[in-house]
């Protein structure tokens, strides 16, 4: 599973072009989603992908511009609400690096509350079966078989 959401891609375009596609709302709409984004620190904007199957989500991403360094970095908060109305937070960071024949674009999406728990997810892959087996030894053999399966 994903431990951190990070994508690095090279585009054969000047950094100015890539920056435009990240910061001009009409251009963002072409590849990401329609939005009222403006490259101004403190500006609040939204994306509305609608509800998604199987996700406890109200259909809107609530964002706020946190940092703008033209042609270099851009970051915004990326918050989402569960259907019960509780807010979950995360942050999207874009880093542009000028290369000889184009631009390297790095996206890091992090800061989820759950992120701090990732070491436990990792422990659980081998660890979970072990804990369950251990507990099951005290229970009936059927449960032990299930836990070992």
């Amino acid at each position: 599973m994903a431990k951190i959401i990070q994508h690095q891609i090279f585009y054969p375009n000047p950094v100015t072009d890539v920056w435009e596609y990240l910061t001009v709302s009409e251009l963002i709409a072409q590849w990401l989603m329609p939005t009222d984004f403006k490259p101004v620190v403190g500006h609040e904007f939204q994306f509305k992908p609608g509800c998604m199957d199987g996700c406890d989500f109200d259909g809107t991403f609530y964002c706020k511009v946190l940092e703008v360094t033209p042609y270099k970095t851009l970051s915004y908060s990326w918050n989402f609400k569960s259907l019960s109305g509780k807010l979950n937070t995360s942050v999207v960071n874009w880093t542009l690096t000028e290369k000889d024949n184009g631009t390297e674009l790095l996206l890091v999406h992090r800061g989820f509350e759950g992120e701090q728990m990732l070491p436990i997810f990792n422990l659980m892959n081998p660890g979970w079966a072990h804990h369950m087996t251990k507990l099951s030894e005290a229970l009936n053999p059927e449960t032990s078989l299930t836990a070992n399966a």
């Binding site: 199987g54 979950n88 804990h131």
Partner: protein, 108 residues
């Protein structure tokens, strides 16, 4: 007692509940053994344990006279689902961006 259903992020937003999960990531523990790690009252610890159980992060089994808590994967699946969703989401969107930029580069 009113038990509000919390989403996965809310459940682990609480430091005490995170601490309980960390402790259980090492070993299954009885409720009493867990409570020894906290300054708060035993009922307060029990309440956190109840929240973790309701949301599928832990299971409780009676072994003899003791109640053993263990990690359970269900609760973590919501978090995993979101992370997987975003991973695929961005991969897809960046591909689209690449196509647009490619067309632009060709025109120039």
């Amino acid at each position: 007692m009113e038990q509000q259903r919390l989403d996965a992020f809310q459940v682990i937003a609480d430091p005490s509940r995170r601490q309980i999960l960390y402790l259980l990531s090492k070993d299954s523990l009885t409720i009493n053994a867990l409570a020894e790690n906290f300054d708060m009252s035993r009922p307060a610890v029990s309440k956190h344990i109840k929240v973790l159980q309701t949301s599928g992060f832990i299971s409780i089994e009676d072994v003899g006279r003791e109640r053993y808590c263990s990690l359970q994967q269900d609760g973590f699946k919501d978090l995993q689902k979101w992370l997987e969703y975003y991973d695929a989401f961005w991969a897809n969107k960046l591909q689209k961006l690449g196509n647009l930029l490619n067309e632009k580069a060709k025109k120039e």
